[in-house]
């Protein structure tokens, strides 16, 4: 890919990101958030039960 194309794609991606709402978190929330992403918990039993009911009523 030419350098021009790469630069344009990066610029477009940056623009898209700038158009979105940005959520500001405190430093401690940010750290907790990223830690949770890195160590994503297993779905809880309640969530699993909800997903099971969803599949039953939506037919899969």
């Amino acid at each position: 890919m030419s350098e021009f194309l790469i630069t344009s794609a990066q610029a477009a991606a940056k623009k898209v990101i700038e158009e979105y709402q940005t959520m500001k978190l405190t430093v401690s929330d940010r750290n907790a958030f990223v830690s949770a992403l890195l160590n994503a918990p297993e779905p809880s039993p309640k969530l699993r039960a909800a997903a099971k009911r969803y599949k039953e009523v939506s037919g899969g």
Binding site: I17, Y20, Q21, T22, M23, K24, L25, T26, V27, S28, D29, R30, N31, A32, F33, V34, S35, A36, L37, L38, A40, P41, E42, P43, S44, K46, L47, R48, A50, A51, R53, Y54, V57, S58
Partner: protein, 170 residues
């Protein structure tokens, strides 16, 4: 919940939004007056649960893209991440159930539907979590029940990592 005659559809002009009432003014007003405009402007996507035998809408939810600022992380966490200052996430902006249909599990159904749709889109937009902003305590309790994680400093806002959602639905 009986859903054989029910389906989730993208909100369109022909849907009867004006009679919708969930009991919370802000959610009703948004749905009746703003939702379709936001869909047209592509600010948010809105989905409705309809009963195929009546024009009434049983519930709705909206999804939109958000970016979460993750600058200035502590060094031990930062070193595990690529150096992106901002991460894309999916926001469930609103989720409401019509007053006469509450207590039938429709909120739960819409929540899982929203998670499923967020997961399906995650591969294209790179979303790393589903985030919700709650207006009132009852809504906050609803998400806590399904083990969404609250932000300590903004307790009305909760999230679920996309990896957790993937484990749930794949």
């Amino acid at each position: 919940m009986e859903t054989l005659s029910r389906s989730v559809q993208t909100l369109e002009e022909h849907h009867t939004v004006i009679s919708f009432s969930c009991g919370i003014d802000a959610l009703d007003r948004y749905f009746q007056q703003q939702a379709i405009h936001e869909v047209r402007r592509r600010v948010a996507a809105a989905f409705v649960l309809v009963d195929n035998v009546s024009p009434h809408i049983l519930g709705y939810y909206t999804l939109s893209a958000e970016v979460i600022d993750v600058e200035d992380l502590s060094p031990e966490i930062a070193k595990k991440l690529p150096r992106y200052p901002r991460l894309p996430a999916t926001l469930i902006g609103r989720l409401a159930v019509a007053q006469n249909c509450q207590g039938q599990g429709i909120g739960e159904f819409l929540l899982i539907d929203a998670l499923k749709r967020s997961l399906e889109n995650a591969s294209t937009i790179g979303s790393i979590a589903v985030v919700v902003d709650t207006l009132e305590e009852r809504a906050r309790q609803f998400y806590l029940y399904y083990d969404f994680i609250p932000f300590q400093d903004s307790p009305k806002r909760l999230f679920l990592p996309m990896k957790t959602i993937e484990k749930l639905l794949r």
